[in-house]
């Protein structure tokens, strides 16, 4: 059974369409990065998966059930984001203590160890925490639930560099000992690339790519050479990005294929891109990028 099965899911707010037609499947126990630009619809998608919002059309199945208002899905999934709130009348310590009643697999030991490591004040109230500390607490909460589907929406917002590194390390170590399906959304792929097995690239409310990180990396390459040559080599190919360097040379990002090997033999300068670069170019709105502005 797929953990997540989305078929043509759409969701609109007033006039804009946050999700147009999302279709993808998520198989068991992978760390998947939900990547996209700001406003691509990542947050909306995660909220739908967590059952917090209702989708407009299409079909969403989490653990084989429609997540909206479903107790089983709620019990087995958690969405950690910066909108997570807890009542102020309870201290952080009390919050952690009330969690096991809800989450059957709650790991109190992990929670308290992480809590101590990150030096959070157990007598503090959730809303009084600084942005970074709140994100840290939410992360500890999310990890400790050990939910079969654990979702993080921009989890490191507000965290400092050291905490980010620690967080990703903690996530990975916990995942190794307790494999489960983890979704991390971020617009900063480079930071989480090494953790991921799969990437779900969302752009304008659609799934652009859903593949393993290495496939994504090989999805597109940059070709550079004299304008005429480059145009000849990449004729008929989908060009994601192109720019002219010093008037004579053309730099294009195109879909990778075997024919480019011939171009290389003909003297093309072919550059492999990092996964985050691929994602960036694939989701860019204009072919020329920022350079177009300065033309």
């Amino acid at each position: 059974m797929n953990v997540i099965d989305c078929q043509k899911v759409s969701k609109g707010f007033r006039r804009t369409n946050a999700l147009e037609s999302i279709s993808f499947q998520l198989t068991d126990q992978k760390i998947t990065g939900v990547i996209g630009r700001n406003g691509a619809g990542k947050t909306t998608l995660l909220k739908i998966l967590a059952g917090l919002t209702k989708h407009k059309s299409g079909e969403v199945n989490v653990f084989g059930k429609n997540p909206y208002n479903n107790l089983m899905v709620s019990a087995n999934s958690i969405l950690v984001d910066d909108q997570m709130t807890f009542p102020d009348s309870l201290t952080l310590e009390e919050l952690l203590r009330s969690a096991p009643a809800f989450y059957k697999r709650w790991d109190a030991q992990l929670a308290s160890r992480l809590f101590q490591y990150f030096k959070l004040d157990s007598k503090q109230q959730h809303s009084k925490l600084s942005k970074g500390a709140r994100a840290t607490f939410n992360m500890i909460f999310g990890l400790s639930t050990r939910c079969e589907l654990t979702m993080f929406d921009e989890p490191t917002n507000g965290m400092d560099e050291a905490v980010r590194t620690d967080f990703y390390r903690a996530l990975l170590k916990d995942y190794i000992t307790h494999p489960r399906s983890i979704l991390i959304s971020s617009h900063h792929l480079a930071e989480i690339e090494h953790l991921l097995e799969d990437i779900l690239l969302i752009h304008n409310g659609n799934v652009v790519l859903h593949d393993s990180i290495d496939e994504v990396k090989e999805f597109a390459v940059a070709v550079q050479g004299p304008i005429a040559d480059v145009e000849r080599w990449t004729a008929g190919e989908k060009v994601f990005h192109s720019k002219i360097i010093d008037g004579q040379r053309l730099y294009v990002v195109v879909k990778n294929n075997l024919e480019l090997e011939r171009a290389r033999l003909e003297g093309a300068f072919i550059q492999v891109l990092s996964a985050s670069e691929v994602c960036m170019y694939v989701t860019s709105e204009t072919k020329g990028g920022i350079d177009d502005v300065f033309k």
């Binding site: 953990v3 909220k47 917090l52 919002t53 107790l71 984001d81 709130t85 009348s89 309870l90 079969e148």
Partner: protein, 242 residues
């Protein structure tokens, strides 16, 4: 893949426990209002007459003022827990709108029980104070032991009415969360009914023509539960963290 199966019952139980812990700061509001009720009020009815040049006045002290204050509190609390912040809090843990509504309903009932019993017994604080302080002659009043049935029925009536007030606050809050216009629409309808006098007739039919506290309590419970059911139905489509 290991999926834990939570029953609605266990989730509601956990939520109720958690909410009672989370909202137990309400005790201070309750204490303040009851103390205020004792201090300001007490004398709910005062009757006087004169016979043979002797003026006789009898002041009857009841817990009415505390009860009215606590009723206001019940409305406010019912309203407060429907607000966004409180709904968000629910969904940081396992919850569905159904479980959340049921838990709210139960929590409000538990709070009403507590508030009802304390309101009733705050009358005894008043008795003791008046007994010590009163310069007048003191007339003994029926105590619990004299009339246990009346004691029981009065407490039940107080509790159910507080619960009903909280459900009124709850449905008002839910309507407001659902759509602000809906809320104002409901208020306008209420005011219209009030002016037309229909409201008085309705409430008379419900609350006056009873004859016994038990029937009153029953009617109140039915109204309360239907209000909660309607609220739940409305909130079912309400988004969380949108």
């Amino acid at each position: 893949m290991f999926l834990s199966n939570s029953s609605l019952f266990s989730v509601v139980k956990a939520q109720v426990k958690y909410k009672i812990n989370a909202y137990n700061g309400l005790i201070y509001s309750l204490i303040i209002l009851q103390v205020l009720g004792i201090m300001l009020g007490g004398v709910a009815g005062s009757s006087g007459t004169s016979i043979n040049n002797t003026t006789i006045s009898l002041n009857t002290s009841t817990i009415d003022l505390s009860f009215i204050f606590v009723s206001l509190l019940a409305i406010s609390v019912g309203n407060l827990i429907t607000t966004k912040a409180y709904r968000y809090d629910d969904f940081s843990f396992v919850a569905t709108r159904l479980s959340s509504s049921i838990a709210n309903c139960i929590v409000l009932l538990i709070f009403s029980c507590f508030a009802g019993v304390t309101t009733y017994f705050s009358g005894y604080v008043m008795r003791l104070i008046l007994r010590v302080n009163s310069s007048y002659e003191f007339v003994d009043s029926p105590s619990i032991l004299n009339d246990p049935l009346s004691f029981l029925l009065t407490i039940i009536a107080i509790i159910t009415i507080l619960w009903m007030f909280s459900s009124i606050g709850y449905i008002a809050g839910t309507l407001f969360q659902k759509h602000k216009l809906l809320f104002f629409g409901a208020v306008v309808i209420m005011v219209m009914l009030l002016i037309a006098g229909t409201w008085v007739r309705i409430s008379e039919a419900i609350f006056v023509e009873n004859g016994s506290l038990l029937i009153l309590a029953m009617k109140t419970i039915v109204i309360t539960i239907s209000l909660f059911v309607i609220s739940t139905a409305i909130s079912k489509r309400l988004g969380v963290r949108t």
